[in-house]
Symmetry: C2
Subunit: 119 residues, 2 copies
């Protein structure tokens, strides 16, 4: 299925949706607009970001903030605090372990369960 069809079905910001299962990993798409994602980390899990459209401000502990643009690919390593935000809508692909909670241990207003991401 085309990624655009998957994205068309995403009606909420900060609400990742699983588009594929590759062994222990979920591939997801999400739309980001605003600053609702809290600082968080994933103690034991790396997380990959691929920008499908728009721009994503990436903040990561220990380095300067950087702007990710369409086609940019970045992996935040396990246990590293980070957050992402976007002034305008940004469309992303995520590659995460099935066990990864998208806001880490932080229970934020935007936090979604894995079940919600599979629906």
């Amino acid at each position: 299925m085309n990624i655009q069809e998957h994205l068309a079905k995403v009606s909420q910001y900060f609400s990742p949706k699983v588009i594929g299962e590759v062994n222990d990993v979920y591939v997801k798409v999400a739309k980001i607009k605003g600053e609702d994602i809290p600082w968080h980390n994933h103690a034991n899990e790396d997380e990959a970001f691929f920008i499908l459209d728009g721009e994503l401000l990436f903040e990561e502990e220990g380095r300067d903030p950087f702007m990710m643009k369409k086609g940019d690919f970045y992996v935040v390593k396990k246990a590293v605090n980070h957050r992402v935000s976007s002034a305008k809508e940004c469309q992303i692909m995520l590659i995460e372990n099935k066990s990864t909670a998208h806001t880490g241990e932080v229970d934020a207003p935007i936090t979604k369960s894995i079940q919600d991401q599979l629906d």
Copy 2:
């Protein structure tokens, strides 16, 4: 890093290059042109294909061949025989377990070691 920069460094067809490590998974880019990939499967591992540019003819045992186009995403499940080919250059992203041999158990002329894919 932008995916275009990664792709610019790929000088050979059928020669996947690792662009990121996400726990037990490698994310790779590759360029496909021709029909050099043999039928193969990965006994224990799913494999995801995402088309970055061009078109990829996907043949999979048990279903009709289908053409993947830019933005199409597809996961071939473990143990399912498949092969991909392209008349013109096609640029793809792959999501594979680190243990996945890109031509499965088949040792083809184009088969590359994981070390070669990391160089």
